[in-house]
Symmetry: C2
Amino acid sequence: MNYNECPITRTLEVIGGKWKPIILHYLAECPRRSGELARLIPHASGKMLTQQLRELEVDRIVRRKVYREVPPRVEYSLSPLGESLRPIMIAMCAWGDANPKSRR
Amino acid sequence: MNYNECPITRTLEVIGGKWKPIILHYLAECPRRSGELARLIPHASGKMLTQQLRELEVDRIVRRKVYREVPPRVEYSLSPLGESLRPIMIAMCAWGDANPKSRR
DNA sequence: CAGGATCCTTATTGATACTG
DNA sequence: CAGTATCAATAAGGATCCTG
């Protein structure tokens, strides 16, 4: 994962993971529980989701809040740094909306 | 590469490749030759670069122009559809500039 | 120079079983 | 429920050789 030195490189280090933009998209809507994200992103295995969430946590993009209850409840949300990624998410969503798959 | 149905998914299909955002970043500056891109993105092997360029070409993001000369010359540039990705590239560059690696 | 084809080595990922 | 650990399958990647 060692790219070169153009500025986009830094951004890709943080949101370049396979599922990270999608996770961030759903967290940008509202805080979400683990199982909730798993249901929203069914193509990613649970292992992948927790792995990507851990990396986002390490990069201070995502905040992880554990409620000490039984059964356990964990809620993920965007940190302020994560919020600063919103313009990117918005631009990506806008392009996806404007250019659906059907285009040939 | 089968994600789910949020709009970002479509965008990721097109620019989600490991080297695609960086390639697009350099093509957004100006048209580039193959060897030029290889020098700009030294961490990607030639095989990877051509592979990613082919996919971008198939998705009509990038235009490939062959000059029938000896030695051969091939120039890549953004198509109009590729140009429409600019806002995403700009947002990603801006974030990378504002949040360099040194941040802890 | 650009890039296709091949072989082979690593990295990612998925499935399963298990813990607090 | 949320998450870890392990192992097997698969995909991505690099090195090399070759062609127009």
